[in-house]
Amino acid sequence: MKIHDNNRTIAIWSIVGFAAFGILPWYALPDGLSGLQGLSELFAGRDSASGLAQLLLHRRPWLALGVWPLLAALPVLWMAPGRAQGRLLAWCGALGVAGLLAQGFAVGLPGPGALSGFLDPSGTGQPGFGWGAMLVLCALLMQTAFGLARAGAFRGDLFVAAAVVGAASLLITFVAFPVFRSLAGAFLDEAGQPSAAAWIARIASERIWGLGCVHSTQSCGVAWNTLALAILTGLTTTVLGTLLALVENRSDSRIRHALRFLAPLPIITPPFVVGLGLILLFGRAGLVNQLIEWAFGIAPTRWFYGWFGVWLAQLFAFTPIAFLIVRGVIQGVSPSLEEASQTLRAGAWRTFAHVTFPLMLPGLTNAFLVGFIESIADFGNPIIVGGQFSVLSTEIFFAIVGAQFDQGRAAALALILTVFALGIFALQRAILGRKNFTTVSGKGDAGLSMRLPDGLRRGAMCVVVPWLAFTLVVYVFAFCGGFVQTWGRDYSPTLAHFRTAFSVAVDAGGVQWLGAAWASLFTTMKLAALAAPLTPALAC
């Protein structure tokens, strides 16, 4: 009995599924696959055995729930491609996925539970999914996808079906499900039952929506704080990013070269580092305050902490993103349209105001959107330099952490945050959606883009040059910090910190990575090397 030619892909995935079930460890191993001490562990080890061994030897019969569809789907290999085959395959795959996930959720650590009592009466329990379980799950998902394709969806294309089902399941697992689970907590009361009263009590709180700061010295509600800060950050990062992009693209200044290197630099800096660096400069014991005290005799205060410090830190951290977005937009503005305007005797200012700027506008609104979203999601900067200025992200943190562990409150605040983010998206679409800002380009579109009008160029340089100098100063300080004994106290140069972090010893056993920072460095590189190819592949 020969397997039908067109079923080769399906056959391969069936083999993968069976192999994963029979050979690979079903559960997650703490050391990974390299921790296996030998083939016997695949059968004997209680937690490291393969799925087949778990089912037969280790009294975990509920695993059959996820695996019988693999067997049930075998007959499709001998069927001709068609609707019947597709339907059988799709049903088997879907039931398999459902069964596998159900038994994963139902049976966990040994303990009481309604469903686990039914599935696992002896109380054996099970750890989390490992290589075996994941590959079987993938095989079942692929079967569902192939089944749908054969039944008529996706015009019968197996690859497209697999890609769509794969991407959708990744999104559901890592985005939709966790977000839904955490936000749903907003509607549950203390006992875990849905309750409208609990929801209303959490949302309608003075702490969130109070307007005290408008008419008194009391602080405003966190929602207003977050909104005001986000709008301010969005606007200022967009303006600054636009000026940087205009100088970089449309001027002949020599500063362009430094700009190309310095402007995107804050993107690679971790958020806490930006906040701490700014405290070293502007904090009460910071250099700027010490300078002011030495020059003018004014006692240093904590003027930097609060909304101003958070805004400055966010401006520093998020301008590069706006810069990159607007730079892309400016490069996309067709020079021939500007040339046409100038041949019709419009001056530099008129051309900029009526041709260039309107073409840039959608990009600017995108940059504002990104700045807004980054600001409301920012946690590192408000927690370090915020002082008593609270925003939604810090409130959520304090609700979850510590004795309170008030998941309901944290979920309610997170829901408000989500509504803000979605609201701004909707607003942007409403404003831009109806107009169409395409630059029609094609043959004959080469040309030199117009230089900036004089006034605009001078204004932009007045802003850009100090900003780049400021960026350079912060990074020089951050870099020098590693070479002094104790920043803020003892500025004697030393290499001791590098020795603590990166010391290496070569002895009989090989290279010994003694320093404290080697482990973090290797983990960072490993994670980056793994994520770098996967991210664009998934985005495709």
């Binding site: 966990g108 650590l109 602080s219 006692a299 927690i383 510590g402 803020g488 106290r489 482990a519 290797f522």
Partner: protein, 343 residues
Amino acid sequence: MKKRNAVASLALALTAYFPAAHAQGTGQLNVVCSVQDEWCSLMSTTFARSAGIKVNVLKRGSGEALAQLLTERSNPKTDVWFGGTGDPHLQAAEQDLTLSYKSPSLPQLHPWAQAQAEQSQWRTVGVYSGPLGFAFNTELLAKKKLPAPKCWKDLLAPALRGEIQVANPASSGTAYTMIATLVQLMGEDQAFAYMKGLHQNVSQYARSGTGPIKAASRGETTVSISFVHDAPSEQMQGFPIETATPCEGTGAEIGSMSIIKGARNLENAKKFYEWALTPAAQQLAAAAHQYQLPANKSAALDSHIPDFRKIKLIAYDYAKYGRSAERKRLIERWEREVNSLPR
């Protein structure tokens, strides 16, 4: 050109796997560590070397560690929770997150450490103790011509407006110890009236318990309410910081250790637990410049460790104030009555 790039990127990806070739010992251990960085590293590297077990350390404040344990309770990734003030450990025990384990070394410990274990049905044990107090920047005080604070009531002085930092009780065990101490010292209503007055002088409620003392050392604030044993490591770096314990009386924390229920590496966790209670391991704290009082009676006492006989300690009721409901009630009351006030 393309081949060279491919080879280069492959080589880069492979370098990330180099350290995987480490000594194959007898398994692993996952520790959540809520004490100072240096002490955590010293404990984990010393234990790893002596027992031949690979130790994975996660450094978390005690409040954050508790939140993590609560959320991963159905699939715990941690084996041992070492350090951090006692109240979160007692909460974890109440929530059935930790394993009941009666160590044979218990009789070697001070009575307060044994009481901590007994009170939680052996789910946790005391490993160190340290008194709460004030830390102040001597240079800033001299510049402002202010006297050093010696009593709780000194902190209410209007001259100290905006000059005090303490941690946020929601996330920090240190700050909760302060609330519980004041409640036991003055009575609940008086204590909250005091904290409302203190709120006027507080510039910021920091995220972690050690944040305020670091800020005071670096001159970002003048006075911080912290554990006094956090000061010597700052003093050794050359910062002008001094400490005092309040004249009316103060409380002390009992740093604790627990084994997590459902730990994957239970045997290794028990080995670590036993080792951490030995005098040698207890003395590692002093080696890391942390001067809490060790729980083991036979551990040698470093000269920097404050003499508990000279400090006025209240009779802190760990049983009552370690209970989850009481903790939640007090922190909620603080949120409602103190934190929402304007400054």
